[in-house]
Amino acid sequence: MNEMIYLFAGYAVIWLAAFVFIFSMVSRQQSLQKDVEMLEQLTQQKQDS
């Protein structure tokens, strides 16, 4: 098992980097999507008034 420690560590950091990047994109996308909905509501309210 100790012989495989570097192999595990190598693949762990590669997948970790990939997931951190994907997670950051998803959270930014969710936050922007909320902004879009809020701004669309504001625009609609402005047009109605």
């Binding site: 012989e3 192999l7 590669i14 980097a17 922007l32």
Partner: protein, 252 residues
């Protein structure tokens, strides 16, 4: 009438784009898991390496090299998009350049983290100031600098222009990085077309199965890059939608 039909058409397009995007993302996930199987199970052992620790660690190669390839590819593409932006001054090219740098940085970070982990059992050190490793560090820092530069400039047009010039200059580090292990005396093995450096520490002969496994993983990583670019560009489009809606709310 027009205002009633356009949103529904737009929604239909978005739904259709979403399903294609989702299918492509699932396909990418499947390809990456297959690449993991190929790297860890299917690929044969590098029998010429002395110890079992070295032989196991050698399998990092199947993800380390493709990640470096995609990093280089992404940075070269960002330079190309930047050149096109400087010529045409259309915002979409700047968005593509920024997206490519961000995705490339993610892949290059994989290289910078997995490299020392492979180096320890092979070279007996985590890090050495070898030409390839030093130039890779400079390259990595340059593109982190690109992201920081963009964050430091308020004017969007100026930000895009400065970033484009910076990306073009930074891309000079890519051919230098590629050639570093072929021009100078270095500990880093050059597995592909080694030139004068076939005897780098930890180098191994590529049997046809090892070569095929590497090719498969490289194709998988390239598909992963295209998929991440698709999502990153989509994010940039939403960002611009937010900006235009803000303008509407403030100045309508």
């Amino acid at each position: 009438m027009t205002t009633n039909t356009l949103p529904s058409q737009q929604s239909k397009t978005e739904t259709s784009a979403f399903s294609w995007g989702a299918a492509f993302t699932i396909f990418t996930g499947f390809i990456m898991l297959t690449a993991l199987y190929v790297a860890l199970v299917w690929a044969p052992e590098a029998v010429n390496l002395a110890s079992p620790v070295e032989r196991y660690a050698q399998r990092i190669f199947y993800f380390h090299v493709p990640a470096a390839w995609v990093g280089f590819l992404a940075f070269i593409f960002s330079a190309l998009f930047s050149v096109i932006y400087l010529i045409k001054r259309q915002q979409k090219w700047d968005a593509l350049a920024l997206s490519s740098v961000e995705v490339g940085l993610a892949f290059f970070t994989m290289v910078m983290l997995s490299g020392p982990i492979w180096a320890k059992p092979t070279w007996n050190v985590w890090w050495t100031w070898d030409p390839r490793l030093t130039i890779s560090t400079i390259c990595w820092l340059l593109y982190i600098g690109y992201i920081m530069l963009r964050g430091a400039i308020d004017n969007p047009e100026r930000e895009a222009r400065f970033a484009a010039v910076f990306a073009i200059i930074s891309s000079l580090s890519i051919p230098l990085n590629w050639m570093a292990i072929r021009w100078w005396r270095t500990i880093h093995p050059a597995v592909l077309s080694p030139g004068n450096n076939s005897g780098g520490e930890g180098g191994f002969g590529m049997s046809p199965d090892i070569r095929n496994a590497l090719i498969f993983c490289t194709v998988a990583f390239t598909i992963f890059y295209i998929n991440l670019m698709y999502h990153r560009v989509k994010l940039e489009m939403i960002k611009h939608r937010v900006e235009s809606l803000k303008q509407d709310v403030l100045y309508q």
